[in-house]
Structure formats: structure tokens, C-alpha cells
Amino acid sequence: MKRLPASVAVNILLVLASAVALFPLLWMLSVSFMRPGEADSFPPPFLPRAPSLAAYKELFAHQGVGRDFANSVFLASAATALSLLFNVAAGYAFAKLRFAGRDRVFQILLGALVIPGQVAMIPLFLMLKTVGLVNNFGGVLIPAAAGVFGIFLVRQYALSIPDELLEAARVDGASEFRIFRSIVLPALRPILVTLATFTFLATWNDFMWPLIVLSDDRLYTLPVALASLSREHVQDAELMMAGAVVTVLPVLLLFVALQRYYIRGLLAGSLKG
């Protein structure tokens, strides 16, 4: 009987904490449906008096948010495809193929994880400028493709594929490519979903790098466009909230759908330290 109050307390605390975590997001949704100016009153209204799509119409018709949305979708998808292609090949090679200096190179790569990306930002920017990739989607994508973290994730998972299986296939005369396609890829499937989710969310949410590389507003991604919009329309709460909804909702839905894979990647990543 003594347990009951404790149990109630734990669950009430959880409800409160979740409310704090979710409230700003719910309020964003509510304000985004208010009519222009409605949110600028005191006390702040919780729900729109008459739900309206005015803010969304303004965003898509006059602020070019449809184009920013398309840019974000394209960049995040392309980065995901590139990262899968590159990291899977590299991760598998580090785990299962024998080549000179393999372990040494891998250790150096792990060391590179310690170096913050910002140190490399300026030289990378100048390098891309010389080859004409600044103010261009290529410049946003190239650094996203080759992540040490992705290689690490795939390698750890690929280590669990039994060597005997690969040897047997080799003895049977299967080519390396065939082995990769018919044995390795199916075995790696779960970690590929993890890596894809991670890359997509990271590219979608990334701010500083696209801010630096893209100067033409027709190429802006949603976060960059939203930041520039928020500097112009400081007072326009409904518009800003609608912009936030358009930016946040896709990744939030993706996360809810794939959270099992995402959390596994997060835990694998935390072991790297």
C-alpha cells in the first residue's frame, strides 16, 4: 500500500516533464493557425479563435517556402544516398577486407572524431570556392557524404558477419561484388536504416554549413530561410510559427516512424568516446 503515493508521484512527474518538452511544439502548431496579428495580444491565446491557413498561404505564395522545402528535401535525400553509398563501402572494407595499413588508418580516422568540424570549415570553404562549389548544392553535399561516424557505425555492425560465410562464398567462386550484394548488404540492412535516418535528420537540421556555403536565397534550405525570415519579420508570430511547423514537422514524423533505428544509432555513437 505504501507504493501507491510513490507511483503516483513518479507518473505525475513524467507527465509534467513531457508537457514541458511538448508544449512549445504544440503551441507552435496552434499559433500557426491563427489569423495575422491574433497572437500579439495579452494574455497570449492558447487556441486560434477561428483556425485559418493565412500564415501558410503567405509563406508558400510570397515567401518561397515551397522552394526552400524542395531544396531541403532534395539535399537531405541526396546526402542520405551519398552517405549510404560511401560509408557502407568504407565501413565494410574496414571490417572485412584485408589491405595494407587498415587498422592504422582506422585509428587515425577515430582520432579525427575529436577534431570539431568548425576547424575545417574555413579551409573547406576556400577549397570549394576554388573548384566552384560555393553557392551550389554540391558544396553542401560533399562534406555530408564522408562521415567518420557513418563508417564507424557500419564497421561495428559488419564485424558481426561471420568470416566463414564470406570465405564459403569465395570458395564457391562468387565475385567480391556478388558477395557484397547478396550477403553483406542484406545482413547490414538494419544499420543502413539507422544510418539513413541519421543522415537525413542531420542534413535537414544542419544550419551553419549551408548558411556559409549558400548565398543565393533561391538555394536556401528551410533552416537558413527561416533564420533569414525571422530576422526580417521579427513581429510576425503567426508567420514564424507556420514556418517552424513546415521545418519541424517532417523530421518529427520521420523520427516517430523510425525511432527504434534512430535510438540504436545514438547508443552506438555514444560508445565511440
Binding site: R3, S7, V10, L13, L14, A17, S18, V20, A21, P24, L25, W27, M28, V31, A39, D40, S41, F42, P44, A90, L109, A112, I115, P116, Q118, V119, A120, M121, I122, P123, L126, M127, I142, A145, A146, V148, N205, F207, M208, I212, L222, P223, V224, L226, A227, S230, A237, M240, M241, G243, A244, T247, V248, V251, L252, Q259, Y262, L266, L267, G273
Partner: protein
């Protein structure tokens, strides 16, 4: 391999070389204008009060924000792992949701929540009799407001790591402590915390490194103001490099930030080793 080499190691070396030059908008137009200046960029930075202000602001953010964030994560993880908790899956998703949201978008939401006149936070405070605070307009309150926002945004990440860490502590230990008559507070102090020590170390290393890279929050919420109270090291680097195009100076800032991170990490590892955590 070549791609990583090209896009990672080369830039780091290049960043250092750049930091020894006066690379600016003229050099951007014609490399002939580039001069080697030795350590002058570093000397000028160390004499620049705004740089020191940026360092102080960033350290303020780290020293207050990281413990708060870790405490929130640990508290949430303990609640989630409590055997009394119901609907764990739902609560875990709800508490983690802010982590996957787009930083810029939620910063915009929080700027509105913190609005001096129409913001809900001030409304809530006024209901309990606290006078409105000009959160983002007052140099004393801007950084605490950003810290509050950052803790809300990030605590779910470490919470997940703590949950995994809590699951590795053997149930027998709790059982034994209970039989010995230890209160739940003592069980937490003598069983949970020592069991979590390596996880706490890992989480604090990652969180400090992350918090030292404060950038988008001030960019969106305060633009470094008011009175430069939220200029972070990275924000300072961005303005030097991509607003004024002093890329040589910006490279030197990047390198000093890197040095700061390295020192903090090494010191933490040394402390951990002495205490026998590693």
C-alpha cells in the same frame, strides 16, 4: 579514403596555415594580396576585448548549461527507468522529441515564448506575481534564457544514454542495498551513481564539447546581443570570417576554440583517471 583525407586532414592543416596569414577580402579576389603574418592574428585576438567577451560568454554557457542539462537528463532517465512508471514508450518519445527538432525552428518558437510583452513565459510568471522579464533584451537575462532553451532542446539525448547506462546496473546490488535497509536516496548515492560513473564521464565529455560550439541559438534569438552578452566563440568566428571576410583571423579563432576543447577534454580525462573511473 582519398575523400576523407582531402576533406578533413588537409583542411585542419590548412586552417593552421591560414591562421598565420592576413587572408581577407582582397586575398579572396587575388591570392597575390596574401601575406604571411606569423602569429599576429593570435596576438590581435588576445588583445581584443570582444574575443575575451566571447570566450567568457561561451564558458558561462558551458559552466551553467552543462550541469543543468546533465541533471535534467539524469532526472528524466531515473523517472523513465523507475519500475513505477507507466507508458514508458510514450514518455520516452515525448521527452526525446525536442532533440530531433530543427534548432533554428525551435529557437524561433522560444524567441516568441520569451517575448517580453506577448510571451507565454512572462504571462505565466505574472500569474504567480513575478514582474515581466525582458529575457532576450536584457544583458543579464539573455544568456540564462538561451541556457534554458538549450537544456530543453538537448536533455533528451543524454537521457537515452543514461537509460541505457541504468539498465547495466545489476538488480542484485539494489536488492542487497534494500535488504541492508538503505533508503532510496542512499541507494541512489551508493549504487546508482558509482554504477553510472563511466556514463557520466562520457556524457559530460560529449556535452561540454557540444556546448562549446554554441552558435545557432544566439544567431537566431539574439544576434549576439544585447550588448554582446550572447556572442559565443563560434558566433565571433562566423562574423569575423563570413561577415567581414577576415578569414585569417577567423581561422585563428577556430584554432583557439579547438585548443580550448582539447584542454578541457584532457583535464577531464586526467581527473577521471585519478578518481579511478577510467
Amino acid at each position: 579514403m582519398a575523400i576523407i583525407g582531402l576533406f578533413f586532414f588537409l583542411p585542419v592543416a590548412a586552417a593552421f596555415v591560414l591562421s598565420l596569414t592576413d587572408f581577407d577580402i582582397y586575398a579572396l579576389a587575388d591570392l597575390g594580396n596574401l601575406r604571411f603574418v606569423g602569429l599576429r592574428n593570435y596576438g590581435e585576438l588576445l588583445a581584443n576585448p570582444l574575443f575575451w567577451q566571447a570566450v567568457a560568454n561561451t564558458l558561462y554557457f558551458v559552466v551553467v548549461g552543462v550541469p543543468l542539462s546533465i541533471a535534467a537528463s539524469l532526472g528524466a532517465a531515473l523517472l523513465l527507468e523507475s519500475r513505477l512508471a507507466r507508458f514508458k514508450g510514450f514518455f520516452r518519445t515525448a521527452l526525446f522529441a525536442p532533440v530531433v527538432t530543427t534548432l533554428v525552428a525551435v529557437a524561433v518558437i522560444w524567441r516568441y515564448l520569451l517575448h517580453a510583452r506577448y510571451g507565454l513565459i512572462n504571462y505565466g510568471l505574472s500569474e504567480i506575481g513575478v514582474r515581466p522579464v525582458d529575457w532576450l533584451g536584457d544583458p543579464h537575462w539573455a544568456m540564462p534564457a538561451i541556457i534554458l532553451f538549450a537544456v530543453w532542446k538537448n536533455f533528451g539525448y543524454n537521457m537515452i544514454i543514461f537509460v541505457a547506462g541504468l539498465q547495466t546496473i545489476p538488480e542484485d546490488l539494489y536488492e542487497a542495498a534494500r535488504i541492508d535497509g538503505a533508503s532510496s536516496l542512499r541507494r541512489f548515492w551508493h549504487v546508482t551513481l558509482p554504477g553510472l560513473a563511466p556514463v557520466v564521464l562520457l556524457v559530460s565529455l560529449l556535452t561540454i564539447a557540444g556546448y562549446l560550439q554554441l552558435f545557432a541559438e544566439p544567431y537566431v534569438m539574439t544576434q549576439g546581443g544585447p550588448a554582446q552578452s550572447t556572442v559565443s566563440v563560434l558566433y565571433f568566428m562566423y562574423e569575423q570570417g563570413f561577415k567581414w571576410w577576415s578569414l585569417g583571423t577567423a581561422s585563428a579563432v577556430a584554432f583557439l576554440l579547438f585548443a580550448m576543447m582539447l584542454i578541457v577534454t584532457v583535464v577531464q580525462l586526467a581527473i577521471a583517471r585519478r578518481r579511478g573511473v577510467l
